[in-house]
Amino acid sequence: MPGLNDLYQEILLDHNSKPRNFRKLEEANRSADGYNPLCGDQIQLYLQVEDDKIIDVSFQGIGCAISRASASMLTQSVKGQSVERAQEIFDAFHTMLTEPDAELDYDTLDDLECLAGVSEFPTRIKCAVLAWHTLRAALDGKAEGVTTE
């Protein structure tokens, strides 16, 4: 049984209590809504994308500590990146949570590695990936949004 400390690491708790880029982005030219019907978590993700580069990103919404921290860390990790690089980060993050035996791309994950403990709590993986699926929907222009069901 993995310990709670693996899940609720200090950096995660910090992002939960002080989420970064937690606001509506007035300059956004892409956005999407994400919803987890199981627990009611909802997120709105805003992106300002110019010439295939993510100039700015922000989020709003309500959710558990894991979904909130994951969204907050997402904004930090993709801000200033190319759309292609954001997709690589998405892939590395998704692999970390859903493929326990896979080799992790630590360079790409960077701080996101602190969410690795979530993979040991299968019922909580959806919380961690909600913002990321919403990011992809926004990048793909699916403003209708996603659900993690």
């Binding site: 709670l4 609720y8 009611g40 909802q42 309500i62 959710g63 894991i66 909130r68 019922t123 909580r124």
Partner: protein, 411 residues
């Protein structure tokens, strides 16, 4: 060990439930998710095994011995359910898959033919989605209105508002007996009386009531009453719809097929009598038998004693939880049933649920299939500890300890 004022030997009762005796995440299991489903006593498990081991056969068909045995036990299951609700006759007991299935039957077979454009159906703010959506969709289809009885901050129905809501256009009141989130016990006898003076029938969702109190449908005078077997310590996939015989008689069948017919030609079918008119196909025979044994088990302990003990436990639990700083209880109606929903300042219910689970404590977290009720209280979700007669004060102490751990993690 009978340390409770109700005189229940809980230690002895716990021996009847094999699932309770296990470690979860290295801690003894504390199962407090009884409103979602209850655990099964060994006698119920044995009844299912025995049926499939010795008596498995189809019912009401064969002349052979096994079929006779299965039919006899199946029919006895119906009589037990009739006695459990104190219905007037076995014909008024329709076996369904569960509460949801029963409500859909009433919606499609009773309400649909009786509902017209501009008519009303009344429900309440504290309904489970399964007692909202069948009515909502039917109303949309028919151009009818869904009226919703408001509730107080404590979680009680505003009966005056309900009374004002009833009009000559009201075709049905569909209301829960006990709220799965708040634990509120609604005054069904009063609700029925008010509706009946205006000639409006009442359907009661009894899923959260029958595990906790003796229900007498004749005394309540409700027109329909629905519950699920798995919430009264029986199997999943089986439940009961009680309906007054004169209403059921006048209703068209809900689903069509074998067993629900008297005679068939390619031109014409004569439907069977009650209750078979509403039970096409081979029924959940093992489920009916298992549910019957669960009813016997509850009667063996006594619903009045269960009621008294669970209230004693609830009182202790409410006192403990309200004493924890940063914990807010949702649903504080007097005389409520043994359900404790709560939110915490420091943590989202989903995080509470995960941390409690690492302490071996099983609670439900989320919107509990009652999203409109969550909106009413302005919360996205709650954590819910729901108690059974096999729970103990020691387990509530463990719940409190686990909640302290949540505070520790998030402080």
């Amino acid at each position: 060990m009978t340390t409770n004022v109700s005189g229940l030997d809980v230690a002895r009762i716990r021996e009847d439930f094999p699932v309770l005796h296990q470690m979860v995440n290295g801690k003894p299991l504390v199962y407090l998710d009884n409103a979602a489903t209850t655990q099964k006593p060994q006698v119920v498990i044995d009844a299912l095994v025995n049926y499939y081991t010795s008596d498995n056969s189809n019912v009401h068909r064969g002349v052979h011995t096994l079929s006779q045995r299965a039919t006899e036990d199946f029919d006895m299951g119906r009589s037990k359910a009739r006695q459990f609700l104190n219905a007037a006759s076995d014909q008024e007991i329709i076996f369904v898959k569960g509460t949801t299935d029963g409500i859909n039957l009433v919606a499609q077979s009773y309400a649909r033919p009786n509902l017209g454009e501009g008519d009303d159906i009344i429900i309440s703010t504290m309904e489970h989605h399964s007692n909202i959506i069948p009515w909502q969709v039917l109303c949309q289809e028919k151009g009818a209105h869904l009226r919703v009885i408001p509730i107080s901050d404590a979680g009680e129905l505003l009966i005056d508002e309900y009374e004002k809501m009833l009009t000559p256009r009201t075709k049905l009141v569909a209301i829960t007996h006990v709220s799965n989130v708040l634990g509120t016990v609604n005054p069904i006898d009063q609700i029925v009386e008010i509706a009946h003076t205006r000639g409006v029938p009442v359907m009661v969702d009894g899923a959260q009531a029958v595990p906790h109190m003796a229900v007498d449908v004749q005394k309540l005078d409700c027109d329909f009453y629905v519950f699920s077997g798995h919430k009264i310590y029986g199997p999943t996939g089986i439940g009961v719809l009680y309906g007054k015989a004169e209403l059921l008689d006048a209703m068209p069948p809900y689903q069509l097929g074998s067993e629900m017919i008297k005679s068939v030609t390619f031109e014409h079918t004569i439907y069977n009598d009650l209750p078979f008119k509403f039970e096409p196909g081979t029924p959940h025979i093992a489920g009916v038998i298992g549910m019957g044994v669960a009813i016997d088990y509850l009667n063996g302990i006594g619903l009045d004693r269960i009621d008294a003990y669970e209230h004693e436990l609830l009182e202790y639990g409410m006192e403990c939880l309200s004493g924890i700083g940063g914990v807010q209880l949702i649903g504080t109606a007097p005389g409520k049933s043994s359900v404790m929903s709560f939110v915490m300042d420091c943590a989202h219910p989903h995080d509470i649920g995960t941390i409690l689970d690492t302490e071996g404590v099983a609670v439900r977290t989320g919107h509990h299939c009652a999203q409109p009720l969550m909106h009413r209280f302005g919360v996205p979700a709650t954590a819910r500890a729901s108690l059974s007669f096999y729970n103990t004060k020691d387990e509530i102490d463990l719940l409190v300890k686990a909640i302290d751990r949540v505070i520790e993690v998030f402080s």
